[in-house]
Every structure is written in C-alpha cells, then in structure tokens.
C-alpha cells in the first residue's frame, strides 16, 4: 500500500504503540484485500459485545487503555454498537455477574480510549446519519448496508478491531465499497411483491441475501410499488446483510445511487436476474415455523426498535396482557423518549420488558436460553431468526401483531 508521510510515521511508532498497531493491522487487512492506499473516514462504529471479545479481548483492550492519554485516544468520532446487557434488567434476563463484570471492564477501557458509548445499531436513525459519498468505518452489518444503500455513504464491514483502528488513525484501507467500481449492481431482482409488514421486509431481504450469497454481490431491486420507510429499509437491509453477507443494495428509482437503473448497471452488461414473489417470502417464513405451535418468548430486537416501532408495539399491547416474556430492545437514545412519551409504561403495563443499549443475540443468548429455559422464540426480525439457530433456539418469524397475539395467548401460535 502507498503510505503518506503521516502514515509512515504512524507505522514507525511516532504516535505511540496503539496507533502503530492500528495502522499495521489496517495494512495487513488492506494488503490482503487489494487496497492501494488509505481513505480518510468521518466516523467509526465499533461492535464489541463481550460475548465476542471474551476475556482475552477485554484484557487486550485494557492493556491499550493503560497507555498515556495522548497515545490512546481516538481522533475521529467513534461510537459503539449494542453492548451485551442492559445493566438495569440483567437479573431479569438471568445474566451472570461475570458477564456484567466483563461488560463494565470493556466499557471502562473504551471510555479511556475516547470512544462514545452510544450502544446502538440504529445510529443512522438516532445519532448522525452519514451523508452521500461520505467515507465511514462502520461496524454492524445492518449499519453498513443501510448507510451504503439508503444514505449513499461508503463503508465496508469493519469488525471491532478494524473500526477501532480507523478511530485511532482516522482512515481505513481503500477497497471494496469505497471504490466506485465495486458499487455497481451485480444481479437484478425483479419483485412482484411490496411487503407491508416489517417481518415481510426482513424476509424479502433474507430471500435476496440467499440469492446474492456473498460480500462481492450488489443486488438491484426493481418492481417495488412504493418508497419503503426507514424502518422497512432497516429490516430489509439487516436481513439482506445477515443472510447474504451483503453490504450494498440498490432499489431502482428509490435509493440515491439508482435514481435510474442504468446508473448502477455496468454498461453493456446483462446481469443475472431473479424473480421474487410473495410465495418466496412465505416459503422462507414457513421453513422456520415448521412443527412449532407454542413459543417460550417473544423478542423484538436486531435491529433495535425505533421510536415509531415502540409506539406501534405499545398500541398493540394496550388493554392486553403478555403472559410469556416479551422483550422489546431499543437504543439508549430512543429509550428516554419512549419513557417521556409513556410508551415504556404502556409496554410494561402489559407485561413486556423494555431493554436499552443491548441486542438480544449479542447478550449471551445461549446462556440466557439455558438459564431461562427458553428455546422456541417468536420475533418479527428476520435477522434474529437467521442468527439464533446456532445458539440453540428454534426461532419463528412472525409479524409484530402475531408475535403480540402469541405472547398474550400463553405462547400459543394462532
């Protein structure tokens, strides 16, 4: 990789050992992936729940956090993805003291590095949405795909170590979706179905993700009959990224880089084309629902709920009573508004639990299942459905309304 004078000085250790490690890490990654140089980035977003970090990762962070302050602080706004707990509700989730201890240690280390503990995967709705063309180093696949596709920003999937590196150096290797040529569509999806439920938007993302299949693919959708809302885009993108490891999509005449489909289709090329209808969405959902007629809990999470989703949920629960656990997970930015507007109180009056700053699957999901006797789980998040099988759950993908109905019927699916 070509390095500027400043980058060479960083590599030589002029700005301390942490920045030296960071740029070496970035050079290793950039060299593997064919980057020729670095690109400055406006923000970094770090995924670092302690289930992923483990004790080894926390100790690694703590060692860096012990450096002198001038050597350890990030140099661009650097924020965090959800943590592995909501401390106020940890006992209700039967999380263990060692989990909370690891979380506290990780938080202290990140704060020492100058990281803003935003603890959210919906920063594009709540913190500072990126601007079209702005280069970023975002973690959380849902954040990346939304920012790239809906906002027109430029980011690769940056895992925790790389996002932290970008925070420390203010740049990231220029490969993948920082490059114009990588942002062109590689397959065409013709859909005759425009979903209305968030769960169906997620299922559509899941179907497209399976067709796309890997990080280099950029699907372009045609045939949607309206502009999706931010929450619909959120569920579609999160599922597409989860099922397919996809980081960018286009929607013809909707997303900013595809105002004309021709803008994202390479000149003179005929793209592989797939047709998707409602039956494909139902087939994906049916596969999860097979042989399940009762559930143990309902979870709304992944991505965290917006204020609008919190309002929808509160309205559905008014006058009803959930008699199995119903967890609604939102961001620390949305939660105070939900409290102030009475939404939290309405959800909790109906037996639900509102959690903030965490995400269900990032919060020791396997251990929570064992401690609480949870296995069969209903959610309206296709992303969560895709993830939880590996943690021993049997997830079912339903609309928010059907999830609420099941929670209020002792877990029986209707």
């Amino acid at each position: 990789m070509r390095l500027t004078d400043e980058e060479q000085a960083t590599r030589a250790g002029t700005f301390g050992p942490l920045r030296q490690w960071a740029i070496e890490h970035q050079i290793k990654v950039g060299s593997y992936l064919g980057a020729e140089d670095f690109v400055p980035v406006g923000q970094a977003h770090i995924m670092a729940d302690t289930e992923s970090l483990g004790a080894a990762g926390v100790e690694w962070l703590e060692a860096w956090a012990a450096l002198p302050v001038e050597q350890r602080q990030v140099r661009i706004p650097t924020i965090t993805d959800p943590r592995g707990t909501d401390f106020a509700q940890a006992s209700r989730l039967k999380q263990q003291p060692w989990m909370l201890d690891l979380e506290r240690r990780a938080i202290a280390a990140f704060e020492a590095l100058g990281v803003l503990m935003t603890d959210t995967c919906i920063n594009y709705q709540t913190i500072m949405p990126p601007v079209r063309g702005e280069h970023m180093a975002y973690g959380d696949t849902g954040v990346v795909i939304y920012s790239n596709s809906v906002c027109g920003a430029r980011s690769n999937f940056e895992g925790g170590p790389s996002a932290l590196s970008a925070g420390l150096t203010g740049r990231t290797p220029r490969y993948g979706f920082h490059l114009d040529e990588e942002r062109q569509a590689t397959l065409l999806i013709e859909t005759s179905f425009t979903p209305s439920e968030l769960s169906d938007w997620g299922a559509l993302g899941g179907v497209v993700g399976r067709l796309a299949g890997d990080y280099s693919q950029v699907p372009a959708l045609v045939g949607l009959d309206r502009v999706p809302s931010s929450d619909e885009m959120k569920h579609f993108g999160a599922a597409l990224a989860s099922f397919g490891s996809v980081a960018l999509f286009h929607m013809a005449s909707i997303t900013p880089e595809a105002m004309r489909l021709d803008d994202v289709v390479p000149t003179g090329q005929s793209l592989p084309t797939h047709e998707i209808g409602e039956s494909d969405i139902r087939a994906l959902q049916a596969r999860y629902a097979k042989d399940i007629d009762t559930i143990d809990l309902v979870v709304f999470s992944a991505p965290q709920l917006s204020l609008v989703e919190m309002q929808m949920l509160a309205a559905m629960l008014d006058g009803r009573r959930a008699d199995i656990p119903l967890l609604a997970v939102t961001s620390p930015q949305v939660k105070p508004d939900a409290d102030r507007l009475g939404l939290t109180a309405r959800i909790e009056a109906a037996g639900g639990t509102v959690l903030a700053g965490m995400c269900f699957y990032q919060s020791y999901a396997r251990e929570m299942a064992e401690a609480n006797g949870w296995q069969r789980l209903a959610t309206n998040s296709a992303k969560l459905t895709n993830i939880l099988g590996g943690y021993g759950y049997r997830p079912v993908l339903l609309s928010m309304e059907r999830c609420v109905a099941a929670a209020c019927a002792g877990g029986k699916l209707t």
Partner: protein, 137 residues
C-alpha cells in the same frame, strides 16, 4: 506420487499441517459455532455437530456479521479454534479477524476448493509462499 496442490490469491498467518474438514457451506463464528464446545451448532450447517478444533476448515464463503473479527482471537486464546481457514471467498470480517488473531487463512481459487479437498485428508496450508497454497498430503 505427487501431492495435489491448489493455489490461492491471498493468505496470511503461518504454515499449518492438520486434517481437513470440508463442506460446501459458509462460515461465521457467531452464526455457525458453539465456541465453548468447539462444534458447528447451526442445525442447517452441513458440518452441524462436528468438531472444528485443530482442523483445517475448507469452506465456501465467509458469511454472517462482524463478530468473527473478535471471535477468532477469543477462540485462539482458549485453544478451541480451527487450525486454519481455507475459503473460496472471504469478506473483510474474516480477514480482519485473522489479522487480529494471527490466524492462518488463504482464499481465492480458480476452482471450487470444497470439491477438491477430501474431508479428513491431511493437508498443508502455506499462506506465506509467493503463491499461497493448500496441499493434500
């Protein structure tokens, strides 16, 4: 008799010799693994129930989210970790995770590597060679 050798476009880590565990399926540490017990746990995964500890995993593509970037490091610290990853296609997360953990990985073949390496075969992975390769011994 000459050993079969397959060249990759990129590699990192050190030379490894170990038995291969092969499937035409993806890889994500969060989505697919019970990392405590060292087995594939995702029921739909073609290696469900099989131990990955000390094996060279030969798989199709990197899948899933960003957690693998930390998890390879955590798995290596506990010693419950594959010996190496050999993938047809990577995503950045797998590269970032391998870089942090100093983990052996090669990727990018002109054939489908999962169809060429027999599961259970002893293999050598050399990511440092001028052309990184996997050799069936």
């Amino acid at each position: 008799m000459s050993a079969k050798i397959f060249y990759a476009t990129a590699g990192m880590g050190r030379v490894v010799k170990a038995p291969a565990l092969v499937a035409s399926d993806g890889f994500s540490a969060r989505y697919d693994l019970d990392r405590i017990n060292g087995v594939f746990s995702r029921p739909e995964h073609k290696l469900a129930g099989q131990s990955y500890r000390g094996r060279v995993l030969v798989l199709d593509a990197a899948k899933g989210g960003v957690a693998t970037a930390w998890m390879l490091h955590e798995m290596a610290a506990r010693g419950v970790v594959p010996a190496a990853l050999v993938l047809n296609r990577v995503n950045p997360i797998m590269v970032q995770g391998a870089a942090l953990a100093d983990f052996t990985m090669i990727s990018g073949f002109d054939i489908d590597i999962t169809k060429e390496v027999p599961s259970g075969a002893e293999v050598q992975v050399d990511p440092c060679a001028e052309r990184p390769f996997i050799r069936v011994l």
